[in-house]
Amino acid sequence: MKIRNWIFRNPPLFLLLPGALLLASFLVIPVGWMIRVSFYQNLPGSYMKAAWILDNYKKFLGDFWYLRNVLYFSFKIAAFTTFLTILLAYPPSLYIARSRGRKKQVLLTMTLSPLLIGMVCLIFGWIVIFRAQGLLNQIALWAGLISEPVKYLYSLKGIIICLVYISIPFAILNLLDSLGRLDPSLEEAAMNVGANRWQSFRHITFPLSTPGMFAGSLVVFALNFSAFAVPLMLGGERFPMMGLVIYIQSMELNNIPFAAAISMILLVSSMIILFLYSKAIHRLFFRRLGL
């Protein structure tokens, strides 16, 4: 009887309960548990032993190799990839935002289709393209994009290309959100006072699209910083990004505590980076927009 009363008096809580329980049990608690496990002791050859030691953290944070070639490396790649992604995602987003009707739908579908197709297929597609190295290089040389043949497969360039490819649809979605809300009369007003198309873009459209760029960059950076599938398939262990290292340490080397520690380091550094980034952007840009 009491329970029934409680249900009627607090409908939202009752509705939320099953979902919340599930999420709490299998996401929150596991992550929390992982924090605990990161202090465990790894038993080589066997499983692990309960403990409270900092060895795992020391192993990563105390080792310059890890710091430079994994953490900093992942950061560099993610930052560069994010920059490239936003850059490349902008023209299509602007174009699509300005089109209408059928054309818009078709273009939107084309640009967002990678999202509906599994990562494995997409990466495989790029592997096939990269294997035709000869062909790719010929085209790129002819187009003037490069000055000498480049090795793509199992190279850093290939990984970056693939990461950017997977990230662009996410960036486009966020950019479209911002650009789509833009009132066209704002651009018209600019042209009316004498701004040509480029000036109107530079002074009106572009500044007003910064929220979309910002949101997009957050999503893309988070995605790429912890990237795992792309470096796995395209680089093997030669390009140890954070996500990949976690996988190798846990699933191949069976060093669970170490992997857990790296996961924590990944989460914390991600949060710190994104926090600092948000603060910087807000200070530089968003005061004017009142956001």
């Binding site: 494995v120 996410f170 988070a222």
Partner: protein, 271 residues
């Protein structure tokens, strides 16, 4: 009528279409290779279904499809049902901490795949359930839960509450109102939620790799092993099949729901 050639506009369109072409390029390549008798050796020398035959009769692929289908079906089912409940409470009621709760339910999107996979694995291992079908289902359900919530919340927000009030005015109780009035009206949101979550589970690779056992290997992982060890055009054929399937989903959802709804939600993280 005089019309000057607008260089700026031309370059803008050119760059845009080059980028869009680059986006569909790998997909095109896979499709072309899958029909090509000489496989990876381009230019295409003919049309063959050999690779498709090989792919679709390959037992690992078949079992992969079965596994992925079962897992996707179950997890999207659970996620959608939970999604309905959660959306209802988030949209209809105002309570303290509502934003926090919303963020909480969106959190699977922000947790990196590797960490989620590892975490669930360790935790379930402790509970004695190391890997297998149940961990996979649980993991996938958690992963895709935000999608039905987003889809159904959007639908609910556009829903006019006076429709429900009218029902209650003529005597329908809350449960009856829900099933007769609310549910049918938000069915587009529910459908969109089911489709998006199914697709995300079906395509998932990063999470599955932490939770699968030799007996339960989802299709993306089968494809990955195949590419790693065999690398022949039947991998492309399978990929092409999956691509065609996605195409069918796109067309279907356009007919049933409207493409913009699906696209708008379909995608925060896909790993």
């Amino acid at each position: 009528m005089k019309q000057k050639f607008d260089v700026g506009k031309f370059i803008f369109s050119l760059v845009t279409f080059m980028i869009i072409f680059a986006l569909i390029f790998p997909i095109l390549v896979l499709i072309v290779v899958s029909f090509n008798p000489k496989g990876f050796i381009l230019p295409p020398s003919g049309l063959t279904f050999r690779w498709y035959h090989q792919a679709l009769t390959y037992k690992d692929f078949i079992s992969g499809m079965y596994v992925s289908f079962v897992i996707a079906l179950v997890s999207s089912g659970i996620a959608t049902v939970l999604g309905i409940l959660i959306s209802l409470s988030l949209v209809r009621y105002r309570f303290k901490g509502r934003n926090l709760v919303n963020t909480f339910f969106m959190s699977p999107l922000t947790v990196p795949a590797a960490i989620m996979g590892l975490g669930i694995y360790i935790f379930l291992a402790k509970l004695g359930m190391a890997k297998g079908v149940f961990p996979l289902i649980i993991g996938h359900t958690i992963l895709i839960m935000p999608f039905p919530i987003m889809a159904i919340s959007a639908s609910l927000r556009n829903f006019d509450p006076s429709l429900e009030e009218a029902a209650m005015n003529v005597g329908a109780g809350p449960l009856r109102t829900f099933f007769s009035i609310t549910l049918p009206t938000i069915k587009t949101g529910i459908l969109a939620g089911v489709i998006i979550s199914f697709i995300n589970s079906w395509n998932n690779f990063a999470l599955s790799i932490f939770l699968s056992t030799p007996r339960w290997i989802p299709l993306p992982m089968q494809l990955y092993s195949y590419i790693k060890f065999e690398y022949d055009p039947s991998g492309a054929a399978l990929s092409a099949c999956l691509i065609f399937l996605s195409g069918v989903v796109i067309i279907l959802s356009d007919r049933l729901i409207g493409l913009d709804v699906v696209m708008g939600i379909g995608s925060r993280k896909n790993s």
